[in-house]
C-alpha cells in the first residue's frame, strides 16, 4: 500500500494506492473518493478485534451496542484502487509504524486509517470497569504488528518530550510512545458516582518518552459551535 500526503495542514488529504485483495480500516466519514476497482465496505465497532469479542459477550449491553455509532469501516479492495481520505475537521495527519516502537499508544479518536496487519488492543486503566467503559474516559489503544497507522489531530500536531513529571488534559493527547508511565486521573473530584460523574480527565506522565498532542480542543470547539453563535462567544461588544 502506497501512501501520499496531499495539500497542506490543516487540510491534508491522504491518498492511498491499495493493491488488489488488501484490506484496511478507515474512520467513519473519512473516505471521500475511490477510483479503480470496487470496494467491500463493512462497519466495525472498534479498531480492536479483541474488544469486539468482549462487547459481543456482554448480552445485557446488546441494545446499547446496536445503537452505538460506527467508528470504523473495514475496506477490502476487490482489485487495485486509489482511495482519498480526509479528517472530518481541519487536521494534520501523521504516520506511525508500530514495529518501530512497541510502546506506541494512540487515542481511538485520533485513528484515521490503519492496515489490517496492525493490532490495536484497548488500554484498560486501573479501576476501569464495565460501567466506566460507558463514561467519558479517554480511550487509547496499544499498537503492535506490522503495517502503517495514519492518525489525525484536531488542528496541528505537536510532539513533546516527557522527562520527569507531566500532566496534560487528556482530550488533547493523541498518543504517547517511548514507554512513559501513565496514570489517568479525574480532573475534578468525583462525587462518588461511577461513569459520567467525571467528564474531564488528566493524563499524568512520568519517566521518559514522547507525548503527541493536538493544538486545538475538539470538545470545546464542538460545544461552542453547537451552543453559542461565534460572535457572542467572542464577547464582541460594539462601542
Amino acid at each position: 500500500m502506497q501512501a501520499t500526503l496531499l495539500n497542506q495542514a490543516p487540510h491534508q488529504t491522504l491518498r492511498l494506492d491499495v493493491p488488489s485483495g488488501a484490506a484496511l480500516c478507515v474512520a467513519d466519514g473519512s473516505l471521500v473518493s475511490r477510483s479503480g476497482g470496487p470496494l467491500v465496505l463493512s462497519p466495525r465497532r472498534s479498531p480492536s478485534a479483541a474488544e469486539l469479542g468482549i462487547w459481543a459477550r456482554g448480552a445485557g449491553l446488546a441494545a446499547a451496542f446496536i445503537r452505538s455509532p460506527v467508528p470504523f469501516w473495514r475496506v477490502l479492495a476487490q482489485s487495485a484502487a486509489t482511495l482519498r481520505l480526509a479528517a472530518p475537521w481541519p487536521a494534520e495527519l501523521c504516520r506511525f509504524r508500530p514495529d518501530d516502537d512497541p510502546t506506541l499508544h494512540l487515542a481511538t479518536d485520533a485513528l484515521l486509517a490503519f492496515d489490517e496487519t496492525c493490532r490495536l488492543l484497548p488500554v484498560s486503566w486501573p479501576g476501569q470497569g464495565i460501567f466506566s467503559r460507558l463514561s467519558a474516559a479517554p480511550r487509547f489503544h496499544t499498537a503492535s504488528g506490522t503495517g502503517e497507522i495514519w492518525a489525525m489531530s484536531f488542528g496541528g500536531w505537536e510532539t513533546i518530550a516527557v522527562d520527569g513529571e507531566l500532566r496534560l488534559d487528556a482530550r488533547l493527547v493523541l498518543g504517547f510512545a517511548g514507554g512513559p508511565q501513565v496514570r489517568l486521573l479525574p480532573a475534578v473530584p468525583r462525587a462518588g458516582l461511577p461513569g459520567k460523574a467525571a467528564r474531564a480527565w488528566v493524563l499524568a506522565f512520568s519517566g521518559h518518552g514522547q507525548v503527541f498532542l493536538c493544538t486545538r480542543h475538539a470538545d470545546e470547539w464542538a460545544g461552542q459551535m453547537l451552543s453559542t453563535p461565534l460572535s457572542q462567544a467572542r464577547d464582541v461588544r460594539p462601542e
Binding site: H11, D28, S30, S35, L41, S42, R45, A86, A222, M225
Partner: protein, 213 residues
C-alpha cells in the same frame, strides 16, 4: 467585461471587476467593501414558476455588488473555513451545489437541475456564468471515470455531460457514494462536510453492512 479571480492566502479569492460589472455575492462572505464598490439587495426576480424557488433562494441569501471604478476588487473567504474555487464561464453547462455557491455574475444563468435531482438534491444548473464556490477543505478537480465513487457532500460541481447515480447508501460514512455515467470533469471538496456535521451532531446513522452495487 471580465472578472479576474486570483487565489488569496489563506484560502480566499480576490475578484477584480471591470467598471459597471455586477456580481451576486453570498451575503455572509463579504467582509469589507471599498468605495469603488456599491452594495444593494439582490434584485427581485420575475422568474417563471419553475424557477421561483431558486430565485427566492438567491434573493434571501445573496446581495448585489456593482463596480463603480475600473479594477475594483473584493475579497471572498468561504465561511466553511476551507478553500475557494473560481470557475470562469464554461462552454458546457455545469451542475453545482447551491449551498457552496459564493458568487455568480448572472442570476439568469441558473436553472433548476433535472438530471441530478434524484442522486444529488440541492444542485442547480449554470450556463456560461462566472462562478465562485466554497469548500470545507481544499477544492480539486478530477476527470470522472465510470467506476470512480465520491462521497456525496464532496461534490461541488460537475459538467452536464455527466449523469450522477447513487451506488451505495453509506460510503464508509454517514452519506451516499456517487458515481457518474459519461465523461467529464468534477470539482470536488477534499473533506466531507456530512462527516463533520455527523461528528458535531453526535448522531451517526445506524450501522448496516453493504457492498457497492
Amino acid at each position: 467585461m471580465t472578472i479576474v479571480a486570483e487565489r488569496l492566502a489563506p484560502r480566499g479569492l480576490r475578484l477584480t471587476l471591470d467598471q459597471g460589472r455586477e456580481l451576486l455575492l453570498r451575503a455572509k462572505t463579504l467582509y469589507a467593501l471599498g468605495p469603488e464598490l456599491d452594495l444593494c439587495a439582490a434584485p427581485r426576480s420575475r422568474a417563471p414558476r419553475s424557477t421561483l424557488r431558486l430565485a427566492q433562494e438567491l434573493e434571501r441569501n445573496f446581495c448585489l455588488v456593482k463596480s463603480l471604478a475600473p479594477g475594483a476588487s473584493l475579497d471572498l473567504f468561504p465561511e466553511s473555513l476551507g478553500g475557494a474555487l473560481a470557475l470562469p464561464p464554461q462552454p458546457e453547462p455545469l451542475l453545482l451545489r447551491l449551498s457552496a455557491l459564493l458568487a455568480l455574475d448572472d442570476p439568469a444563468a441558473l436553472a433548476p437541475a433535472t438530471n441530478a435531482a434524484r442522486a444529488l438534491p440541492g444542485f442547480v444548473c449554470a450556463t456560461k456564468a462566472f462562478l465562485a464556490l466554497g469548500a470545507w477543505g481544499e477544492p480539486w478537480v478530477a476527470t470522472a471515470e465510470g467506476t470512480d465513487v465520491y462521497a456525496a457532500s464532496t461534490i461541488l460541481a460537475f459538467e452536464a455531460t455527466l449523469t450522477p447515480r447513487r451506488v451505495c447508501r453509506r460510503f464508509a460514512g454517514p452519506e451516499a457514494g456517487i458515481a457518474f455515467s459519461g465523461r467529464g470533469r468534477v470539482w470536488l471538496d477534499s473533506r466531507s462536510n456530512a462527516a463533520l456535521r455527523a461528528v458535531l451532531a453526535g448522531t451517526l446513522p445506524a450501522m448496516s453492512s453493504q457492498e457497492e452495487e
